[in-house]
Amino acid sequence: MGLESYLLGKDGEKLAESYLTSRGYSIIETNFHSQQGEIDIVAEESGCLVFVEVKSYSYRSYSLPVFAVKKSKKENIIHAARYYLYKKKIRGKRCRFDVIAIYKNSKNETVIELFKNAFGVK
């Protein structure tokens, strides 16, 4: 990973945090690591635990950013989420997975899109 894209990712996560906070999410944890994967942001919104994956782009790709979360990536996030629930001893709480896409449009403005309940376990 080049320094440039690392910084882009870091910037994106900062942007996402402030965006979520403004939308009434309270951030619980960022960059939660497990062996199988990582969760960018763990937050809570109206009683629901939300695992957020942040996708940042330096340009607008042709496909929707939400499709950039591939099957293997989803599985990693789900694994990590399971591990999180186990480690924090959370049971019987509503959970969901959101995806935030951050990219620059043709007018060079930064666009943030939030996909609520973007995917689930099979």
């Binding site: 629901c48 399971r82 629930l85 019987g92 959970c95 309940n117 689930g120 376990v121």
Partner: protein, 508 residues
């Protein structure tokens, strides 16, 4: 939280009630369907998700377990989309009321529209027998469902409309139809016996066959009009009664042949399978057996063109349905019985080149190859064919003439009268036409006058007729006598009937 809705599954021509249970649990979001769903049921997950979102509802973030009970029978088809979607909306409290007494059926498209499904008529009939009172069905299926009286049929066009109906926001009137309006005063065939030039004796033979429900074998050279004549046979058969129409429609409904154009089939079916059709295609089959051509021609005509070209096993499987008027198919999963009360019309050439019986063209086949061609016909099956008719090539002057003869309508009225007569005679027994008489009934109803008996005896002697032919001739003469309105079988009836046993005369 748990919500139950009702749907139905179809097995053969009967349906049983399926409970669709939707349970939502907290935890990581997701969905699973249990209760032996097949692939099309499993795929409903994606259709339901898209339909819910595109109807302006939300997919709640919960883990849904969907159970189709009873859990030990396999569920197939997309008809559970609508009950699953409504169950998910009720459980997530986006619909504020629950529904207890209605059965819900329907496939969803991604935009939230409810699509038509197969088998609505048999499902609704079974549901009524099982005491259900109301059913929510796709709008396109409304006429078909409303054929069942005493069931409140609620047609819905979209998932949103169904949701509004259950929550009480929108009232939908139960759909009603007038069954009589489906029966046209004069059926539209587009073809008529008047179209056929010449061939008066074949037309007469087909009239006899139609009147008595006899099976027919047409033998003739290529281009003599066998197919044209056979196709016109349904136009002289008596119109379907309401019960018969419902039986035929049920079979077409489960096979998905209704196409949404007509809710009730009121004309007799004419099925003409190609000679490469497999035995399963003819008789029906599959993991869960589906009706084959014999059942689709129930109360109608099964026409087998180029009869000797059909594979031997295909022809042999016809024996049971021809005898019993129904066919029982057994598979590991289930054993089902479908009705198959049809008239068999077979057509064939007299030899491989087709000119064997032709006076103008020379046959180039060796006697061995002609023999081999005829040997393809199985004896037991020929046994079940009453009339053998030779269809000759038309002469030049006949071809140039305008079509003559009677229109189908007049012939049909005679046939219908004759069938009524038989209905009275056989009332109380399983038999419904002369072609289906049991040996005992032949003895009882086919009493001959002394003159007629003498004629039949001499026919047997001089034409070298077999014992098998004897019974057939009696049955055909009964029909001919019925057509003539005669209570007894007279010598002239016997004389005509012996004309229809061409193959016996040739010693085949």
């Amino acid at each position: 939280m748990l919500v139950k809705t009702f749907s139905a599954a179809i097995l053969g021509l009967d349906a049983y009630i399926i409970e669709v249970e939707v349970d939502s649990q907290r935890g990581l979001p997701g969905q699973s369907i249990v209760g032996l769903p097949d692939l099309s049921v499993k795929e409903s997950r994606d259709r339901v998700r898209a339909a819910i979102e595109n109807s302006g509802f939300e997919i709640p973030a919960s883990y849904f377990t969907i159970n189709l009970a009873p859990a030990d029978t396999k569920k197939e088809g997309p008809i559970y989309d609508l009950p699953i979607a409504l169950g998910m909306l009720i459980v997530s409290e986006q619909i504020k009321r629950s529904i207890k007494d209605a059965v819900i059926l329907g496939e969803l498209s991604l935009d939230g529209c409810v699509r038509r499904i197969n088998g609505i008529l048999p499902i609704c009939m079974s549901l009524k027998e099982q005491g259900m009172r109301s059913v929510i069905i796709p709008h396109e299926n409304r006429d078909e469902a409303a054929l069942v009286e005493g069931l409140a049929v609620i047609p819905v066009k979209t998932l949103k409309q169904a949701a509004d109906y259950i929550s009480g926001k929108e009232a939908i009137k139960p759909h009603k139809v007038d069954i009589r309006s489906f029966f046209p005063p004069e059926p539209e065939w587009g073809i008529d016996f008047l179209d056929v030039k010449g061939q008066g004796h074949v037309k007469r033979a087909l009239e006899v066959a139609a009147a008595g429900g006899h099976n027919v074998l047409l033998v003739g050279s290529p281009g003599s009009g066998k197919t044209m004549l056979a196709r016109r046979l349904p136009t002289i058969l008596p119109p379907l009664s309401l019960n018969e129409a419902l039986e035929v429609t049920k079979l077409f409904s489960v096979t998905g042949l209704l196409n949404g154009k007509k809710a009730l089939i009121t004309t007799r079916p004419f099925r003409s399978p190609h000679h490469t059709t497999s035995d399963i295609g003819i008789i029906g089959g599959g993991r869960i057996p589906r009706p084959g051509e014999v059942s689709l021609s129930h109360h109608g005509v099964l026409f087998m063109d180029e009869f000797p070209e059909f594979k031997r096993e295909v022809v042999e499987v016809l024996r049971q349905p021809l005898e019993d008027g129904q066919v029982t198919i057994s598979r590991a999963h289930s054993t089902l019985t479908y009705p198959a009360e049809f008239m068999l019309v077979a057509a064939m050439n007299p030899c491989p080149c087709g000119n064997y019986m032709d006076n103008t063209k020379k046959c180039i086949c060796s006697s061995f190859s002609v023999q081999r061609y005829w040997n393809k016909l199985s004896g037991p099956l020929l046994d079940r064919i009453d009339l053998h008719v030779e269809v000759g090539r038309l002469k030049e002057d006949e071809l140039a003439k305008q079509p003559d003869g009677e229109p189908s309508k007049i012939i049909r009225s005679r046939v219908a009268r004759c069938r009524e007569l038989q209905g009275v005679r056989y009332s109380g027994s399983k038999t419904f036409c002369n072609g289906r008489m049991t040996p005992k009934q032949v003895r009882e109803y086919c009493k001959l006058e002394s003159e007629a008996e003498e004629l039949l005896k001499s026919a047997i002697l001089h034409l070298n007729l077999s014992a098998r032919a004897y019974d057939r001739i009696l049955k055909i003469s009964r029909t001919i006598a019925d057509l003539a309105g005669s209570a007894d079988i007279q010598a002239c009836h016997i004389a005509e009937a012996t004309q229809y046993r061409m193959l016996d005369k040739q010693g085949r």
